[in-house]
């Protein structure tokens, strides 16, 4: 009775913990059930495929964001970097006359470079990631306009292929699945991924344990940059053109997806599967509201409420953890 009673036995079902850990999944299921009841158009093969395509951009962006948030940072530049990468790729192809596949790789390289600059400014320049990436947001968006002069640029066939179909399967879904597998592999299986959790949980403890914290941070932002570039190319591929204002504001969707998915903005927590569910929640809401022909004014209200609920779950999660 004496020592054993003190042990926090959690054998019985603890709904609070379950909800806090799986809030996004529960929310998604509830949302889907509600939509199935509300409209016959929701649960059709084509619509589910549409959702898969529509979630691809924001999910790929959010995978990159997951690395950053797990490592305790934030990346406000992913939307702008996505646009810049796609635009640069279009420029390489159209104006510089490079082969399509070079233009595609060039777009990814631009994302990588932007990410490295973000990471270096944060790790070596000691700029808070919020500030460093806010600066990058402005720079990248500005450079996008400089390159494009405010006009869309046609993309290479190789880039358009990313937005097309491979047999009956839409390429965006293929890329989404591959990106999820790669991101999940990095986060769960590699030294780098495990280090991200340590750095986000307590950077000083990680450093004193011999983890190369600064290099990890640079790598994390570089990865976010590459994922952003991939998302940008995907979006351009779907539109057959790189748009100067593409992915504007997507960084907020990406952050929302990560947080809805159960990551903590204070770092050290987060999963790719959660982020994927978070992105699905956002896209399913938009899809459903379109199907129901809900006024655009109300759509914004609904999406805002969902984000507030998600952050509420984050607070609840921390409460249950600390008590």
């Amino acid at each position: 009775m004496s020592t054993t009673t003190l042990a926090p036995t959690r054998r019985s079902f603890d709904y609070k913990t379950f909800l806090a850990n799986n809030g996004a999944l529960v929310g998604l299921v509830v949302l889907c059930i509600a939509l199935v009841i509300a409209t016959p158009d929701f649960l059709t093969g084509q619509n589910l495929l549409n959702i898969g395509i529509q979630v691809s951009t924001v999910a790929v962006l959010a995978f990159g964001m997951t690395f950053v948030i797990v490592a305790g940072g934030i990346d406000l530049s992913v939307g702008a970097v996505a646009a810049l990468s796609a635009m640069a790729s279009g420029w390489f192809f159209v104006s510089a006359g490079m082969p399509g596949w070079v233009a595609l790789l060039g777009g990814l390289a631009v994302g990588l470079l932007a990410g490295i600059v973000n990471g270096a400014a944060n790790a070596y320049g000691k700029l808070p990631s919020f500030i460093a990436t806010l600066a990058m947001l402005s720079v990248a968006r500005g450079l996008t306009l400089v390159i494009s002069d405010g006009r869309p640029i046609k993309t290479a066939a190789e880039v358009s292929f990313l937005g097309g179909n491979i047999g009956p399967v839409p390429m965006p879904i293929v890329i989404l699945v591959l990106a999820a597998l790669v991101a999940s592999f990095i986060l769960n299986r590699t030294v780098l991924g495990r280090s991200m959790y340590a750095v986000g949980g307590n950077a000083e403890a990680a450093r004193l344990s011999g983890l190369p914290v600064k290099r990890i941070i640079v790598t994390v932002f570089a990865l976010a940059g590459v994922f952003a570039a991939l998302a940008g190319l995907l979006l351009a591929g779907r539109l057959d053109s790189a748009q100067p204002q593409a992915a504007a504001g997507y960084e907020l969707d990406a952050i929302a997806a990560v947080v809805i998915g159960g990551a903590s903005l204070s770092g050290g927590l987060g999963k790719i599967s959660g982020t994927f569910i978070g992105a699905l929640v956002l896209v399913v809401i938009r899809n459903g509201l379109n199907l129901l022909n809900v006024s655009s004014f109300w759509q914004q209200v609904v999406i805002g409420l969902v984000i507030a609920l998600a952050v509420g779950a984050d607070v609840l999660r921390r409460k249950t953890r600390n008590s």
């Binding site: 059709t44 619509n47 450079l143 405010g150 199907l291 022909n293």
Partner: protein, 314 residues
């Protein structure tokens, strides 16, 4: 300790340099010939080809008239624009051409300018509660009606229609939507089955149209409040665009005209952004010279279809 603070300074400097490089490269467009009168063109955004063409038209006219044109871009932020207009009022500006981000928000800034005897020409959008010297604008309501007529003609005056709206609450979206609704109401056999926003954005329009087609597979017409959204809708329709479903856009951008040529876009209501810019400069020069200017100068909106697209393509 020292070396780390050095590295910090280096990184900050590098970032600052990057930002500077970005901003200076953006601020192109002002002519070097300091001889001519200084005119400020305060534009709502250059994120959109329409305004880029408007700027190009203004720049060309300014070069011709020997006007020293300063272009400032508010990036769709009313507060930024207010600051830019305040800066213009303080300088040696002879006239201001304003393309307001928001028709209400710009009134105070414009009144400050007119109080300082600087002529203010509105372009594309009006400024409410302000004494504009002149306004050059396309008639968006009339344009919306024209679009409805074109779409009805394409559909044989019957069927169901989706309407893609612009950014909620903007005057362009309000006027075009109102014109379209009014126009389409004249055709009793046409029903508008869905009205959803796609924020004037091609990517959004692609997703929204895909979703709407799911709920309304039988639609035969789509009206989009700008060409960007029309192109997104065409992307969503794939091969059905032009064949089974007629799409009508608005603006007459280069990409829109190309789509008309290849048949995927049935029609667009062309504004003439370059013409807007050009007229605005001409009015500004007149006002500077003390000549009388008309209070409103309407610029024709033209329905563009495959038959007359050749006249508009450059």
């Amino acid at each position: 300790m020292k070396s780390s603070s050095f590295r910090r300074i280096a990184a900050v400097t590098a970032t600052a340099a990057l930002i500077l490089a970005g901003t200076t490269a953006c601020g192109r467009g002002s002519g070097d010939e300091a001889s001519g009168p200084k005119v400020v063109l305060a534009i709502s955004t250059l994120n959109n080809p329409f305004f880029v063409e408007l700027r190009d038209g203004a720049q060309a006219a300014a070069d011709e008239a020997g006007v020293d044109l300063y272009i400032v871009d508010a990036q769709n932020d009313s507060a930024t624009q207010a600051n830019q207009l305040a800066t213009a009022a303080a300088g040696s500006t002879k006239a201001v051409i304003v393309n307001p981000v928001d028709s209400d928000a710009a009134s105070a800034s414009v009144n400050t300018l007119t109080a300082a005897n600087i002529p203010v020409i509105g372009v594309d959008r009006t400024v409410n509660d302000a004494d504009l010297t002149s306004l050059v604008a396309s008639d968006n309501v009339a344009g919306g009606k024209q679009a409805a007529d074109e779409l009805a003609a394409a559909m044989g005056e019957k069927g169901t229609v989706i309407s893609l709206q612009g950014v909620s609450g903007t005057s362009a979206s309000r006027d075009r939507g109102a014109g379209f609704d009014e126009g389409i109401a004249a055709y009793p056999d046409i029903t508008v089955v869905a009205e959803q926003t796609a924020n004037f954005d091609r990517a959004s329009a692609l997703d929204v149209t895909t979703n709407l087609l799911q709920a309304n597979p039988g639609v035969t017409g789509i009206f989009a409040e700008n060409d960007e959204m029309a192109l997104g809708a065409i992307q969503a329709l794939g091969a059905r665009a032009g064949a089974e479903v007629s799409v009508v856009g608005f603006d007459g951008t280069a990409d829109g005209l190309t789509a008309i040529s290849d048949g995927s876009l049935y029609a667009t209501v062309a504004q003439q952004p370059a013409e807007l810019g050009k007229l605005a400069i001409e009015l500004a020069v007149k006002a500077i010279n003390g000549d009388d200017v008309e209070a409103t100068v309407p610029v024709k909106v033209v329905s563009v279809t495959k038959t007359n697209v050749g006249d508009f393509s450059k």
